[in-house]
Subunit: 209 residues, 2 copies
Amino acid sequence: MIYEQNDIIQLETRYRANFINSLGGFKSVTLIGTKSVQGNDNLAIFSSLFHLGANPALCGIIIRPNEEKQNTLGNIVTTGFYTINHIAPSFFKKAHQCSAKYEEGVSEFKEVGLEPEYMEGIAAPFVKESHIKFGCELVQKIDIEWNGTYLIIGKIIKIVVPDEYIAVDGFIDLGKAQTITCSGLDSYHSTLPLARLSYAKVDEAVREI
Amino acid sequence: MIYEQNDIIQLETRYRANFINSLGGFKSVTLIGTKSVQGNDNLAIFSSLFHLGANPALCGIIIRPNEEKQNTLGNIVTTGFYTINHIAPSFFKKAHQCSAKYEEGVSEFKEVGLEPEYMEGIAAPFVKESHIKFGCELVQKIDIEWNGTYLIIGKIIKIVVPDEYIAVDGFIDLGKAQTITCSGLDSYHSTLPLARLSYAKVDEAVREI
């Protein structure tokens, strides 16, 4: 029940991967679309997306280095563009299948049965089936020397969200949009709203809680 | 419905904060416990936690700079330790209340009614009420120059997870543990399992989907 540093190190590799990947809680899970300079579409599933800032609108993803190829990292670095697409229950199995190791140049869109969609100003394919999606421009790649990964920082330059999911204050109702979440390496979940809570103030502690 | 770069820039500040914070999908939401060198406990709610690696076990958080004070960043930098604690529906309002701007040196544990719990080897308080929690040691602080935030990289050196939530392959059943997720700046959600999917293989595409 309590795992010390040595216990963690001694876990079997696959067990540890499942365990540590589950530990951080529920995660954003999205499909990242890119296009190679050779003109091939690529689609990959990522659970490391995080919010970096609203003004300028920035997001981050963590990615393993494999830059020489026509894959997500290679395409982002060579073209400077990528799309991030939410996943709904109606196609989460197709999204998961994008993690299979298809040969270089093969389009995951075609293999799993999702439709690429191009929009002005973004040299990367969106996923037509996604209700919520946005296009990013690479602004910085930072080495994470501890494990040889990269932090990719993207500026959000195009956003597609149907009006019906947007509240008067700009909040997007992701439950209504059927966006799913994930845990660990392979577990997918829908959500149920608990509540939106008002801005917390010091003198409201007793009343609010 | 489609927002171009100029539309994003022209959104009203608070509207844009809600909109962009919602856009990345559901997020991990946890309480981060720290202790100042003056001996004061601090507890803060964060939605920027992400998985960085399983071996070594690493995680990242994004944090706004405010290093001079007895707050999460100041305490992590001066002591080198912090705890990350999952949130359950039974205390999510207390967790949210930790975001109020209490005066320096005031313990959010005391103000919102959560119990600090110290464990050997971690100079920071855990949240007793949390079912799943882990202790981290600071290994690197990276400047994100685009918006003046920091990426804090932590090595996971102690993990507390009840056996009943751990599957035979190391996967932690976060739904069973009642871990919640969040979206935007203030919306909290429980989850419903869709499925755990098997490792995706190229030649199983047709069968699996």
